[in-house]
Symmetry: D2
Subunit: 389 residues, 4 copies
C-alpha cells in the first residue's frame, strides 16, 4: 500500500500547471511507495481557481491561502505565487507543520530567506526550493561526472540565460517588472537559475562584481497580472523598477572563475539557458534548446581523436530517464518538475532533506544580494558579507 | 458538462504507456468538451496487467481482448499489441461498434489493411492509425507552410530513420526480428514512419525501387518477449527473418523524387528520424533530436540574407504548443501522442474522420508492399499495383 | 637543390584558378624537394588566357593545346577543360611522355577512360584524376581510422551532394546542362564526388539501381560558356539534356549498403556535400560546410558517455594540417587541391603512382555508366558488366 | 601597368607566414592596380631567416631590422615580432617614411601606442594594426547589416575567445607567458581580438570592470622561443607573469552592455572565438569554427517564421568572397590576412587611411589598460581616463 502525501498548492497559473502536472506524472512514471494526492489548490479568483482545479485534477480549492494551510488533510504546501508572498506563506505553513516547497527565488531578500529557513528547521519539516533545471537529466549527469572527478579541478563556469519576450516597448508593465512584487528582474527570474546551477555544479561563490541595465524604463500600465505573452498598448505609462539585464563576474571558493549574464533583451533567444564548465581533465557544455544532450570533452581521449562528444542523455544508465521511453526519445521542460518533486516526495517519505532546499535558498539569496549590492556601487562584494549582515 | 469517451486499451508495454499517458494529459492541457475515461486495459499476463492498470490509472483490466471488446462500457478500442494481432482485434472492435485506433503499421499486409478499412467503414466508426510523428508541432507547422504554398512545387523528399539498438550480435531474437509477428523489420518499424511523413507532407507515392539487408542473420534465442534493451547471450540461435535495413527510391505522383532509408545498424544514432524537403520556393528540414525546431529556407528572402532559419516551434501561433508552457520551452516525444489522440477524441465527439486513418493505413501498407516486392526482385513497383492486387 | 617540375595547364577558369593557386602554395607550405614551375597555361581566347597567365603567375601561355603538349619545357599536362575534351588531350599528353592529371570525371564514358588508362600505362607516365575531396584532412583522417579498424566492418554509406544554383527557370543553358559537353549533369558533377569517396572509404561498388530527374526541361539559350552564376533571360529556349538530380542505391563488394543522392535542386544548400559511414565498431560523419570537422562515434566508449565526438581535424597529428597554422585554425576549399597536387608532384619525383589515378577513373566511370544504365531501364546493374562491355 | 609596393617584413614565424602568404595571394585573387613585391624579410637567426625567405618567396633577407628599415627599395614595414618590439620598430619605420603595419596588440601600453600614432601621423605614412578577424567576410557582412540599421539600437555584445593549448602544467614558459615580452596573456592575445571586434561592430567602450586569473603560476623553463605546440618537461621552473584568463564587463558609449571573456584554459576549445550581438531589430551570432557562416535574427520576420538564419557568407554579393570560388565553398583563416593586407595596399595606393589603424590601436590599448587597471584594484575604470593619463 502506498503512502499518500496530500498536496496543497498555492497558485494556479504557469507554475501551478507545471507543478500539478508533475504530481500527476510521478506515480505514473516512477516506481515509488509514495502517492501524491492533489488535495487542494488555492487562488484568490474563485471562478478561475475552480476551473483550474477541475482541469488539473485537484479535489478541492480554496480562495484563502491561510485556510488552505489550516486544513488538516494537507501534508504539503507548495507555493508558486509571486516572490513577495513566499516568506509569509512558507513560514505559516512550516508553523502549521506542513512540508514546504516554493518556486524560486526563495524570497525577496536574505533576511526573509533566513527567517524562512529558521521556520522550516524549527518545525522540522521537509523543505525545498524549485530550481528545476538542476533536475534536467543531462545536468544531473554532468553533476555525476564532476563528482566522479572526470572534469577535474574546475577553472571556468560561463553561463547565460537569454530571453526576448519584453523587447517591444509596447510590452506592458507586468508584475515581473515591478520590484515590489518580483524583487528583481532578469536577475531573480533568469540569473537565479544560472547561479543555482553554478553552486550545484561548481561550488560556493565567494565574491561577485556585477552591473544591471534597464533598457526600456517606462512601459504601458494596465496588464499587471498578465502572463508572458501579454501585449497591450495603453496611453498611461509606469516605471520599470527592475533590471532588464545583468552581467556578473564571480569567483568561486575553489578558485574557479565565473561569468554569468541574464537578459530579456536578447532577440531571437526565446529561452536560451546555457553553460559551459572547463576543468583540468575535461569540459561539459549544455543548453536548454538541446536539453537532452550533454557535450563532454575529455582531455584524456587519444590524441587526434579528441573533441566534444554529444551525448544523448536518454539511456537507461542516465539519471531518471530510464523511467520513460527509450534511448533517443526526447523529454521536455515539464520533466524537470517531475524529477524535482519526485525527490521532494521521497524526502518526505524517507525523512531526509532533498536539495535544493531552503538552505540553498538562503545561500542563493545571499548571492543575489551581493550581485545587487555590487550593481549599486560597482565594487566587488563578498557573498558571506551579505549573508550575515 | 464534458462528454465522456471510455477507452479500452489492448497492450500495456512501451506503447501502452505512451497512449495511457496521453489520454491523461489531454484534458489537462487542452480545452475540450471531451473527457477520456481510462476504463480498462487488457493484457494476457494478469499480474502484469493489473500492476499496469494501477500504475497508469486504469479503472479496470481484462486478460482477454475479446472480453474487453464485448464490454458495454467501452467506446474506443486502442490497439498497441504486435503487428500480427491488429487486424483481428480491429475488425472485431469495429463490428462491436467501437471506434478503433491501432499502432502503426496498420496491418501485416494490404489484404488485412483493406479488410480492416472495410470493417470500420461498414460499421461507421471513427478510426485512426498512430503515426505519431505527424503530430510533432514542427511537422504540423511544416505541413501548414507547404499547404500555404510557401515551399512551392516540391522537387525532393529525403528521409532517413537511423537506430542502433540491435547492432550487437549478442542482442537476442526478439519479436521485432521475427517476420511472422512483426511483418518486417526496419521497414515496418522505422521506414513506415518516414513513408507516412512523405505521404503527409509531399503526396502519394506512385512507384518505388528498394533493397533490404539483414546484416546479422542469426541471433540468440530466449528473449522473444524482450523489449528494446533486451540483452541475453545464449547458446541456441535462431534466424532473423526481417530486414535490418532498407533503402528506397520513390517517385511521387506530383513529380517529386524521394530517397528513404531505415536501419537499425547506424551506430551512434539512438533514434535519428530526419527529413528534408526541397521545393521551388523553399526548403524545410527536421530531425527528431531537435524535435521542437524546424529549419526553413525561403528562396524569396533578400539576396545575401538567405539561409535556413531555425524556428523554435514553441510559439503560441504554432500548432498545439500554445497549450503548454511558453516560447522556448521544449516538449518531448510523449506530446506527439497527446496531439494525435486529442484529434482522435475530437473526431469521435464531432463525428468527423481524423487523419491518419485506416485509409492512410491501406495506402501505407501498399507502399510497404511495393517496397518489399521491389526488394524481392529488384524491379520498380507501382504502388497502385500492390494495392489492388 | 630542388627538382623543378614544369607544369602546363589547359583551362583557366574556376578549376584553372584552383590548380594554379595550389601549385603556388605547395612549396610555400610543404617541405618538399620538388618545385613546381608554372610554365604555361593554355586557352583558346588569347586575350583572356594572357590575362589569366599574368594574374595567376604563369610564365607563358598557349592558345593551342597541341602546341602546349609539343613543348619540350613541359613535364606535366594538367587538364581542367570540359569533360568531352579530357580523353583526346590526356592521350596526346601521355604519348608525348608527359605526366597527366585531369579534372573529374575522367572521361565521357568507360571506353574513353580505358583508352586513357592504356595510354598513360603504355607511356609509363604518372597520372591522376582530381577528386579533390579525398584530400580534405578530415576525410584523410577518416580513411586512416577505417584502415586502422576503428570503424570495423562497414554496414552503411549514405551520402548526398546538394546544390541549388540552377533552380531558377531563368538560369541559362550552360555547358554543364548539355550532355554532349558534360556527359551528365548532377551525376557526373556532384555524384561523381560522392561515388569516389564511397570507393575511397568503403571499397568497390558491385551493383547499383538508380533514377534521374530533369525538373526543368527547357532553358534560355545564350550563355553557353557562362560560369556558375550566369543569369540571362532570353526568348529562345533549348533542351536540358542532362539530369538535374540522381538517386542511387548501391551494394558494395564487402556487403555494405550505400545510398547516394546528387541534385542541383535542393534550395538553400549552396554546396552541401556530406556523408555518414556506420560500421560495427563506430561511425563517422562529415559535411563540407564544416569541412575541418569529423564526427566520430566509437561503440567502445564507456556506457553513458557514448556519443559522436566533433573532432577539429586541425592538429599536428592530423593529415596535412601540421603544415599550416595551429589547432583550431580553419582551412578551406582550396587546400584540397594543394594536398592532391602535392601528392601528384611527390608521385612524379619518387616515380610512384598516387591515388586517385586513371585506374580509379576507369572504375568511377564504370560506376557512372552503371548508374546511367540503371536510370535508363530501371533495373540493377553490375558495375563489372559495364566495365568490360 | 601595376604599381609595385615593396614590402619588408620583420618576423618569419607563424604570423610571418600568414602575412607572406597573404601578399602572394592578393594579386592572384583580386583585381587591383597594386602589386606587392616581397622584397625582404628580416630575422635575427640568419640560417632560419634565409630558409624562410626561400620557402616563402622573399627576394632577400636581413638580420638587422634597422638595416631593413634603412633600405631604399622598401616602401612598407610589416612588423610581426613579439609585442615589446613593436613601438621601437614602428616609430623608426615611420621616421624613415615607410608605411607601417604591426601585428596586434599595437603596443605594450597606451604611452607607447600614442607615441607610435604620433610618429605615423607626423611622418604622414599609412598605418594599420592587424586585427585580422575584422576581415572575416561574415564579420564584414555583420558590420554592413549593422550600418544599414538592420539590427537597430544595440543592447548586448557578448563574446568569448577560448583556447586550451597551455592547460598542461608541463607546457613550458614560452614568451607569451612572460609579461615583459608579451605585455599580457589571454587578455592581449585573445581578448584584444574580441575588444577590437566590439569597437568595430558596436562602438566605443566607455568603462570596464574586469578580473584576471593565473591558474598555473609556475612552469618549466627552457623553451622560451617555443611556438604554440612546445612541450618540454624540465626540472627548473619559472613564474608565469601574465593572465591565463580574463573576464570583463563593459559599458559602451551608446548604452550597450558587453560581456567578454578570454582564456587559455577552456579544454576542448582549440581556438573558439565567438560573439553575439542583440539589438532592437535583430541579432547576429558568429563563431570562428564556422567562420563562413553568420547567424542572423530579424525581429521583423513574419510571426511564426522567426528564427536565426544561418547565412553562408560565400555569395558574390558578400564582402570579398566574390573573388574566390563559388557559393558554398569555404575559405579559411589565412583569407583574413589577405583581405586586411589588400585594404592596406589599397590605402597606400589611394593615399587613404584604412582601419583598423594606429588610432584604433591607441583606443584598443586604452581599453586593455582599463581592463588591467580594473583587474588590479577591482573597481570600474573609464577608458578615457586611461587614454589621457
Amino acid at each position: 500500500m502506498k503512502t499518500e502525501i496530500r498536496i496543497g498548492l498555492i497558485g494556479y497559473q504557469f507554475m501551478g500547471k507545471a507543478h500539478s502536472h508533475a504530481y500527476r506524472d510521478i506515480p505514473f512514471f516512477f516506481d515509488t511507495d509514495v502517492k501524491p494526492v492533489l488535495k487542494a489548490i488555492c487562488g484568490r479568483n474563485e471562478e478561475a481557481v475552480q476551473q483550474a482545479a477541475e482541469q488539473m485534477g485537484w479535489e478541492s480549492y480554496e480562495t484563502d491561502w491561510r485556510a488552505l494551510i489550516a486544513r488538516d488533510d494537507i501534508d504539503v504546501i507548495d507555493i508558486v505565487t509571486p516572490n513577495n508572498t513566499h516568506a509569509e506563506m512558507a513560514i505559516a505553513a512550516a508553523k502549521a507543520g506542513k512540508h514546504v516547497i516554493t518556486e524560486k527565488p526563495l524570497a525577496m531578500n536574505v533576511e526573509e530567506a533566513i527567517r524562512m529557513h529558521e521556520a522550516v528547521t524549527e518545525n522540522n519539516v521537509i523543505h525545498m526550493v524549485c530550481h528545476n533545471y538542476r533536475y534536467v537529466p543531462a545536468i544531473q549527469y554532468a553533476k555525476r561526472l564532476i563528482a566522479e572527478g572526470r572534469i577535474g579541478k574546475i577553472y571556468h563556469f560561463r553561463a547565460n540565460y537569454l530571453q526576448d519576450f519584453i523587447m517591444s516597448p509596447d510590452f506592458p508593465l507586468i508584475w515581473r517588472l515591478n520590484k515590489e512584487v518580483s524583487g528583481s528582474g532578469a536577475l531573480g527570474d533568469l540569473g537565479a537559475h544560472s547561479l543555482d546551477l553554478a553552486r550545484f555544479l561548481v561550488g560556493e561563490i565567494s565574491e561577485v562584481v556585477a552591473t544591471t541595465e534597464t533598457f526600456i524604463k517606462e512601459r504601458p500600465v494596465g496588464a499587471m497580472t498578465g502572463g508572458l505573452s501579454a501585449k497591450v498598448k495603453g496611453e498611461e505609462k509606469g516605471s520599470v523598477t527592475v533590471d532588464d539585464a545583468v552581467a556578473i563576474i564571480a569567483k568561486f571558493e575553489n578558485g574557479a572563475l565565473g561569468t554569468l549574464e541574464a537578459t530579456r533583451f536578447a532577440g531571437g533567444n526565446r529561452n536560451r539557458n546555457q553553460f559551459e564548465i572547463n576543468g583540468e581533465r575535461g569540459s561539459v557544455r549544455w543548453n536548454i534548446e538541446d536539453m537532452n544532450k550533454l557535450e563532454l570533452y575529455l582531455a584524456d581521449d587519444e590524441e587526434g581523436m579528441q573533441g566534444f562528444r554529444t551525448i544523448d542523455v536518454t539511456e537507461e544508465s542516465h539519471p531518471y530517464v530510464g523511467s520513460y521511453w527509450a534511448a533517443g526519445h526526447m523529454i521536455g521542460y515539464e520533466h524537470t518538475f517531475i524529477h524535482l518533486l519526485y525527490e521532494f516526495l521521497q524526502g518526505i517519505a524517507k525523512n531526509r532533506q532533498p536539495v535544493p532546499n531552503f538552505e540553498d535558498g538562503v545561500q542563493n539569496q545571499a548571492v543575489l544580494a551581493a550581485v545587487e549590492a555590487s550593481a549599486n556601487d560597482g565594487t566587488w562584494k563578498r557573498v558571506a558579507d551579505l549573508k550575515y549582515s
